[in-house]
């Protein structure tokens, strides 16, 4: 005859040493079921309330309560390293020391050949600025030097923000020729990238294909949708030219991505737009973002709504049918990080005036948040002088420091999301989440459930 205690030992349930060894989240689903998710273990499964409480028992050291939990389940948890395992490794936190960037992003100009209604930069509304060649060269020299010192195989040069970089074509091609020359001199490669509106001439496309490693093209899908917001100075739609650019990219096998911006008015067409992109073009990178309520779109109706999530799901299903994936910047299940973007990682961008900015949205000294994001300026020694206090503040924008996000299962994926956008929606100066958070959580939840389904339908485990 065995006692209860014997039975517990027999079942391996004495659990004197059983402890939770993972950060566990329980995401409510339906009918009392929860999606248990351990992001740093990359584990997920659906549990009923009893199982949730069994895990709570273990966490609280109420060992006797686990007697109802059979040994198989404990073994299951052990196998997933949710209990009785070494502590999890959290993603890297704040950087320290002098910035040593190996990539530079050049904000060549605030001029633009389009007048997109939702432009976050309101490009073309104010006096244009243009980056002199010497500013670009100094930045290129700086990152080339660091890449060389760090024995990196290449350094990066990107063209982005505030306007359309290809409008300043000579500076763009000239600066990249200089970068290629510098790369040759120090014996490493240069990787070029571009964010463009796609209003390109054939010869420009050919140059891009020949010299750059990739490009992100703003394209909203169906021509009627695209032309609703992305218009020329005269108000004409731009889809025809952009479609020609994408076709040319496809013909050459160039690696490009499409960024789709969604407004409240175009949410309903999102799925059709993605269908259009999948049918017409071969890009594997389709990023979808609600329009930022900044610049020309400030005060507009937000697209960060439940309808957006619904439309995203429809669009994802259409894309899946074509063997493609669509992404939302903060819902990155395969990314475990404390940093949403490079803002907290010494992102090295240069404004036309030569100041160092950490953020693509803070592209000029006139930005209302320039004091927060501009953290350096040229120094007398061909390098840059950094404001360490500003830099420290930017580096502190990591998930580990976001107390508001501590209980959120998405925190190691979105890492608190975009700091620039956060500053625009803060309540009483304090971050208190946003509608984007809901979108992120919903889309992540979908992705996790998809992974479970793809893994056989019971649980997902994909150790890092």
């Amino acid at each position: 005859m065995t006692t209860n205690a014997d039975a517990s030992v027999e079942a391996g349930l004495t659990a004197s040493s059983t402890t939770i060894s993972a950060e566990l989240f329980a995401i409510p689903l339906e009918r009392g079921l929860h999606l248990v998710y351990a992001p740093l273990r990359r584990v997920a499964f659906v549990a009923n309330a009893t199982l949730i409480n069994a895990l709570a028992d273990i966490r609280e050291g109420r060992h006797e309560s686990t007697a109802g939990t059979d040994r198989d389940l404990l073994d299951f948890f052990r196998g997933l390293r949710l209990i009785d395992s070494a502590p999890e490794e959290t993603p890297s936190g704040e950087l320290a020391g002098e910035p040593k960037p190996t990539s530079v992003t050049l904000f060549l100009t605030t001029a633009c050949n389009l007048r997109c209604t939702y432009c976050y930069a309101a490009a073309g509304d104010s006096a244009t600025t243009a980056m002199p060649m010497h500013v670009a060269k100094r930045g290129i020299d700086f990152v080339a030097r660091h890449a060389h010192r760090q024995q990196q195989p290449f350094f990066g040069v990107g063209y982005h923000g505030g306007g359309e970089p290809t409008v300043l074509w000579r500076t763009m091609t000239g600066s990249f020729a200089y970068a290629e020359q510098r790369a040759g001199e120090i014996g490493i490669a240069v990787h070029g990238s571009l964010a463009t509106n796609g209003m390109l001439k054939d010869e420009q496309i050919d140059w891009i294909v020949e010299h750059l490693h990739g490009a992100s093209v703003s394209f909203d899908g169906l021509p009627t949708v695209h032309d609703r917001h992305r218009v020329t100075r005269r108000g004409d739609g731009s889809s025809k030219r952009v479609i020609a650019t994408l076709r040319r990219f496809d013909e050459t096998g160039f690696d490009y991505g499409v960024r789709v911006t969604v407004t409240r008015e175009t949410i309903a067409q999102l799925a059709d737009s993605i269908e259009f992109i999948c049918r017409q073009f071969s890009t594997e990178h389709i990023q979808i973002e609600p329009a930022y309520l900044l610049g020309r779109w400030q005060g507009a109706a937000s697209a960060e709504t439940a309808e957006f999530v619904a439309a995203f799901r429809d669009a994802r299903s259409r894309a899946k049918h074509h063997g493609r994936k669509i992404t939302f910047s903060a819902a990155r299940l395969d990314t475990l990080t404390g940093h949403f973007c490079a803002v907290s990682q010494d992102n090295f961008c240069l404004t036309p005036g030569g100041k160092v900015s950490a953020c693509y949205e803070a592209f000029s000294e006139n930005d209302p948040r320039a004091e927060i994001f501009l953290y350096g300026e040229p120094s007398a020694d061909k390098g840059y002088r950094f404001n360490l206090e500003t830099l420290r503040h930017l580096r502190a924008q990591v998930a580990q420091n976001r107390s508001f996000c501590a209980g959120c299962f998405a925190k190691w994926h979105c890492a608190g999301d975009c700091y620039y956008k956060e500053l625009t929606i803060r309540q009483n100066g304090i971050f208190a989440g946003s509608a984007r958070c809901e979108i992120t959580r919903e889309l992540l939840k979908d992705e996790i459930l998809d992974r479970i389904e793809a893994s056989g339908g019971l649980f997902w485990h994909q150790p890092v």
Binding site: N48, A49, V309, A310, G407, Q427
Partner: protein
Amino acid sequence: MKTLPPRFDLARLPECEAQQAAMVVPIAQLKLDTTMNRRGFLGAGLTASTLAGILASGCGALSVQAGCRGSTHGGSVGALAITPDGRTLISAGGFNSDSVKLWSLPLGAHFDTLIADAGQNTSLAIAADGSTLTVGSSKGINLWNLPERSSSPITKIPMQAVAMSLDGGTLVSAGPDETIKLWNLPQGSLRKILRTHPGGANILLITPDGSLLVSRNRQKTLLWRLPEGELWKELPAAANGGGPNEQSLAISPDGKLLAAGGKAITLWRLPDGELAQTLAGEAGIWSLAISEDGKTLVAGSGDGLIQLWQLPGGKLVKRIAAHGKSIVRALAISRDGRLLASGGADGAILLWRLPDGEKLQCLVDLAISDAQVSGMTYQLRHESGRMITYTLPCGSAIPAGATCTCHCVPGSVSRPRTTPVVNTPLRSGGTICTCNKVCTCNLIPVCQAHRLLHPDPFVRGMAEQLLLAMGAGQFGYLDWAIRQADSTLANRIRQLKRSIACGVQPERGQWPTSGPCIARLDDEDEVVAIMAAQMIALCGQRGNLSARLWRRVNVLLADARARPWFVRYAVDAYQVAKRRPEVAR
């Protein structure tokens, strides 16, 4: 106003939720909330509050009268069945209308036409699992898998009646060849042929335990033992239909009582077949149904009345004028006993609340409605994942969770009366044309929970604080609100519910000053305006208001309290549905 941080860290759940064995749930068992395309007309209602009643609210009443006749199958309604989960009503057309349609409950909205041409004399039988439906008609018998909308034929021989055992393993059919056939399911193999009365049986019923089969026509009512199929007894002539209404027959859920309709209602003890009681009938009884708890007998008469009888005892509780002067041909009661569906020769299907017999809704499929019928369309994503446009007659409350996609919609058979704004293709090839005529869409539900993701952070904050103030006493409402919300919003509501369960209280330090609330008293979103009024009342800011503003606050609060029962019914129904498994245990 400050928003609470997200709290998804694994925490202990209330023990009442943890009744089963611990288990990892296969994802295939999830239905997963799908999104609903809605904005602005999200519905929910509150019946009370923990704060001096100031938070009570509800939503619109129904006043549906026009547009119900002939609005479902074009002709009369012949048969009705409600799935065991109470979420779907299945209707079959009667004379001159032979479609089989599916309607979502409790909204009562048409969401699919299962069979466009099912044949005459259609009878329905649904298995206890809710997924298997047998449709018998002049075109034979088909076995339907409802979730998959797929069917397999059992036979093409014309049938007059079918019945299926609750376990779905036995099918019984009666045809004009005067036989009763026993079939094995799901194989569909013929097990036995019984010889029966001249003319064949017009209705078949199997007792819940599957041990007895009742067959009936005008001349005879026979009891058969199952599974052998041996004739057990012939009931006295008083049990027979005696007229064209021989299909009025019902067995109580405990299988001990058989109700037979004719000129009157006779109650018979089973299995011995002894007459137990005779209830007075009016204009002949054409349809019968007994509630799951066996306490209510519903009878439909030839003069359009529905009678509610109390069992045992046989006391007439209520007479309802339901289908004008038309015959009430079919009745079905939901398993939770809260909902009655009636179908009439007038072509209307009506939903009624039980036990009090309050009318809830009439069902409309505008695609077949008369040209003069106009209605409001709204969209919901059905659990199948499809976005479905539903239609209700003008004057109906917009169902919770729906998006009002237009204002007024003429019937599909009419030509557009004004410049169309949207044309929605219909399966029939016609179009529903959205016109600019504004129907009465004045029944805007109030729902704080459905403002938790409002684009305006202040509104979000108000919703959160108000719900926190309501506290755990409103969990029933929150559960209902979750069911009505798309998954994004549902998760947000669940999150807040967990916060309440964890003891989170409204933060007085976060309550706003009167200024921002006053600014929203005239918000175009009436829900926001009411919430602003509730917030002012909650914060005790009367002193800051002028007499005019205080009147405005009171008007809004009174308006919130006055909103009647439609959604509250849904809340109640949900709570009952949630409790049912516990009762079973």
